[in-house]
């Protein structure tokens, strides 16, 4: 969308586009908009909308049957007002409107939006520079993670205090729902947001994303979505778990609207970000960067974007249908009037399982990306890593019903879905093979990022093995809906996903902030949370084996011990995460200044200066060799050749 139509950005369809004539004046209202005006706009429009709706809706006194709906309409209006007002206030609609009337943004304005000469202020604006967007994503994600982590601590506190009800059941239920969805959203963007935006364009040797303004749009839509989710906590909350199965969701308090609108907005944001990333990766790789020369992390991000792109609309439409059930009284999911609860489950899990891989694959790719750097040897069997990712993507669309083994929906479908689900362990196994192959005989440079990678592999192994139990229908008949499932997906999403994100942050920190992440404090944080993590979730496995259902506030006293241990572990995780956070904060403020390539990496993003200049590279790089060209030629190669020659000679002599 940017108007500085350098050849790179506008040759998307393979056509050279000349610099267009400039229409419209530079400057204008756009330059004065920032996060503050966004907030003002959002709050103002929300207030107006809510107030207007409250007046227009027949009041409860005059129409008793209508009364329960009034908060629904008002809250809906407030939320919609917030989103539109916020996006208006931050200036998201300026570009499209000017496009329609044909007076495009001038070159000077485009540079202004790119954050030129803005200093720190650019982080508060609708900035199109991918590096600024990456940092913004990082901050927002960390805030959301903190919020969801806070809820996690409260949940574990409640479950640890088995002798009393610390919170009322409604509040507890809304906590688990909000924790779940906030974590899922945060984890979905945790890698693709900050690292995908900041690193990928540099890694492939591009100046920016393909559509810089869409980049900003996706970020600010995400920012607009988050407050809605949090606000729902105060409106009765999401009392239905993160999956908000219908029709329970249509019974919930009005807070459910917050969830539904969050998902709808978030899905738009994800779709935009995905298209952007995919287009960038497809069209803007540096000269000479063929597919076999593209780093594995780029593959991971691409795969994740692709899955996000096709999976999220299902979720979005599930929520739109749910919203329409609630607000307009339609009956998609209301069995009383011919709706089907299985429809929701299908739509939901059509998202639900690909989404897990949306989270896992980037972190796995980070792990694989980091290992060559710290082991100083090439990635083992690059083709296999790609094959693994491709396999996961290909299969991910065909496994959704393994969440529905026990729903009674088409029992006969259990057989094929069991097959496809267990098949997916083969491509995942490829990734593990690549990891251990890269470890094989390598000299380990034991720095913080590599340690996080070890944690990822360890957790992923446990998560993967327990996943096989759950993919198997007979075992799932016992484990479905129990704490075992909770422990399993925490091992995958948190153990592999979040620790992978930590590895990525630790690794790319010097490039993103210009400073080194404090090794000692970071390591303490990492290992504390790792140990706490094992304690928490392994004892949660035990609770699941004993037969504790998930999402319960109270449980039989036979589960007490495993829950107490689990709670203690959770506190340890919390402390570890806070220490890691402290490492980030202190290093960001006053860490050691990093050189441009502190890890001695060979990939493109480290070849440019730190801090990264506005357009990344003074001269666009040209790639001439495969990635991960580390290590010395294997000394045994020659030896083996000698053996071969020797043998050949012997064979020949015979």
């Amino acid at each position: 969308m940017s108007v500085d139509t350098t050849v790179e950005t506008s040759s998307v369809f393979g056509v050279h586009v000349p610099q267009p004539r400039q229409h419209g004046a530079a400057g204008g209202v756009m330059r004065r908009l920032n996060f503050g005006t966004g907030l003002i706009g959002g709050v103002a429009l929300a207030t107006i909308a809510g107030w207007g709706t409250a007046i227009l809706t027949p009041s409860s006194a005059s129409n008793a049957t209508f009364a329960p709906m009034e908060p629904t309409y008002v809250y809906l209006a407030v939320l919609l007002g917030w989103v539109i007002g916020f996006m208006l206030g931050i200036g998201a609609f300026v570009g499209p409107l000017r496009w329609v009337v044909g007076s495009d943004i001038t070159h000077a304005d485009a540079e202004y939006m790119g954050g030129k000469d803005l200093g720190k202020k650019r982080y508060w604006k609708y900035t199109t520079d991918h590096k600024v967007v990456g940092i913004q994503y990082l901050i927002v994600t960390m805030l959301l993670l903190g919020f969801a982590g806070l809820l996690a601590m409260l949940i574990r506190t409640e479950l640890g205090m088995t002798w009393t009800e610390l919170f009322s059941p409604s509040f507890y239920n809304s906590m688990i729902g909000t924790h779940g969805i906030a974590m899922i959203l945060a984890m979905i963007v945790a890698v693709t947001g900050p690292l995908g935006n900041f690193i990928v364009p540099m890694m492939i040797g591009a100046r920016d994303m393909a559509y810089p303004r869409l980049n900003a749009l996706s970020l600010w839509l995400f920012v607009a979505a988050v407050p809605m989710l949090i606000s729902s906590m105060f409106m009765g909350g999401i009392q239905d778990g993160w999956s908000v199965y219908q029709p329970l969701a249509s019974q919930a308090p009005v807070g459910m609207l917050g969830y539904q609108l969050t998902i709808i907005v978030f899905a738009i944001s994800t779709a935009i970000a995905s298209v952007n990333l995919m287009t960038t990766i497809l069209t803007m790789r540096a000269k000479g960067m063929t597919w076999s020369r593209t780093p594995i992390f780029v593959y991971g991000i691409f795969a994740s974007s692709l899955m996000g792109l096709y999976a999220f609309p299902f979720f979005q439409y599930a929520q739109i249908l749910g919203l329409s059930d609630r607000v307009f009284g339609t009956s998609f999911f209301n069995p009383l009037n011919g709706g089907s609860v299985w429809l929701y489950e299908n739509l939901f899990w059509l998202l639900g399982h690909p989404e897990v891989y949306v989270i896992i694959i980037p972190s796995a790719a980070i792990a694989l990306e980091l290992m060559p750097v710290f082991l100083r040897k090439p990635l083992f069997s690059f083709n296999f890593a790609v094959a693994g990712i491709v396999g996961v993507v290909a299969l991910s669309g065909f496994v959704w019903a393994h969440h529905m083994y026990m729903t009674g929906w088409a029992p006969a479908a259990n057989y094929p879905f069991m097959l496809s689900t267990e098949m997916i362990s083969i491509p995942v196994g490829f990734l593990v093979l690549v990891a251990i192959g890269t470890l094989w005989r390598g000299t380990t440079w034991t720095r913080l990022p590599l340690m996080a990678v070890y944690a990822v592999i360890f957790n992923k192994m446990i998560g993967g093995v327990t996943g096989i139990y759950l993919s198997d229908v007979p075992a799932d008949q016992y484990f479905h809906g129990s704490m075992f499932v909770v422990a399993h997906f925490h091992f995958m999403l948190m153990g592999a996903g979040l620790f992978g994100g930590m590895a990525g942050i630790a690794f790319f920190f010097p490039k993103m902030t210009g400073r080194i992440l404090d090794e000692r404090i970071g390591s303490i944080g990492l290992w504390t949370s790792f140990i706490g993590f094992q304690v928490t979730f392994i004892s949660m496995f035990v609770a699941g084996l004993q037969g504790q259902p998930r999402r319960v506030l109270d449980f039989d006293s036979q589960f007490n011990i495993s829950n107490w241990i689990s709670t203690i572990g959770a506190y340890v995780i919390g402390i570890g995460m806070l220490i890691f956070l402290a490492a980030i904060i202190t290093s960001w403020r006053s860490g050691d200044v990093a050189s441009s390539n502190p890890w001695g990496s060979k990939s493109l993003e480290w070849q440019t200066a730190t801090p990264v200049p506005l357009e990344n590279f003074p001269v666009l790089p040209v790639v001439t060799e495969r990635p991960y060209n580390y290590g010395v030629p294997d000394p045994y190669e020659a030896e083996l050749d000698a053996i071969d020659a020797d043998l050949a000679e012997k064979v020949g002599n015979k």
Binding site: M153, L154, S170, G236, S250, D518, L578, L581, A582
Partner: protein, 236 residues
């Protein structure tokens, strides 16, 4: 050194935030004050044995009005969201003595209709399996004339006795004479007597769909202080 100080501060601050939010929400939880059934004498159990006897008085109102009781709950948000919904009064957190006969007297001011599951239009778990409805003993009422139910059920503890009790509260006719506040002048009166065993914690809720949203089972049906609550049996 300074770095470690910052780390310590971060951890303490994080812990403080968690604790603060936890305590705040714990204090603010939507629990009405506990209504205790005190032992007032003894009564003869069906086995002929004299047992301590306690009494409780509960009312069910169709909606709150300025003249009459309000739902007894500390949550201002719920008071807004659930305005005009039926509720139990004076409290939904009940406490009764163990090893006793307990009598609960209900006054039911609300209307009603068809219940989903006829099982809950029968009386379960009381002494003799009966309840006294406007003076006469009944074991069940018509499923299409239920106003509310008072259904106590199991708490997930295996080391406390199984306890289940369900009483239907018949509805008032739509044309019943009402006072100025809109409540029937002669509410349905129901009293039931049941025996408690060992101490334990249970929950109770209404099984008649009288809330809002899907299946009329949302809102007050899922909020303590309205149509659901706790039921503790404690050693005297």
């Amino acid at each position: 050194m300074k770095k470690f100080l910052v780390t310590l501060v971060t951890v303490l601050l994080g812990g403080a935030i968690v604790a603060g939010v936890g305590v705040f929400n714990s204090v603010r939880q939507e629990e009405p004050p506990v209504l205790v059934a005190n032992v007032v004498g003894t009564k003869k159990a069906p086995s002929g044995e004299e047992m301590p006897h306690a009494e409780l008085y509960l009312d069910v109102y169709p909606n709150s009005s300025s003249k009459v009781p309000q739902p007894n709950t500390p949550s201002p948000i719920n008071n807004v969201l659930l305005a005009g919904q039926p509720f139990y009064h004076p409290s939904t957190s009940l406490q009764v003595p163990a090893h006793s006969l307990v009598t609960i007297h209900f006054r039911q001011f609300d209307g009603g209709g068809q219940i989903y599951n006829p099982y809950f239009s029968q009386v379960h778990g009381t002494v003799d399996g009966t309840m006294k409805w406007n003076g006469k003993e009944v074991t069940e009422i018509k499923p299409d004339q239920v106003g509310h139910t008072f259904t106590v059920h199991q708490y997930p503890e295996s080391d406390q006795p199984y306890f289940f009790m369900s009483i239907p509260l018949p509805m008032n006719k739509a044309n019943a004479k009402t006072d100025k506040a809109g409540y029937p002048v002669d509410p349905q009166t129901i009293s039931v007597t049941f025996m408690t065993g060992e101490a334990g914690s249970y929950v109770w809720n209404c099984e008649f769909p009288c809330g809002d949203m899907y299946q009329e089972f949302g809102g007050p049906m899922q909020t303590r202080g309205w149509m659901a609550g706790t039921f503790d049996v404690v050693e005297a």
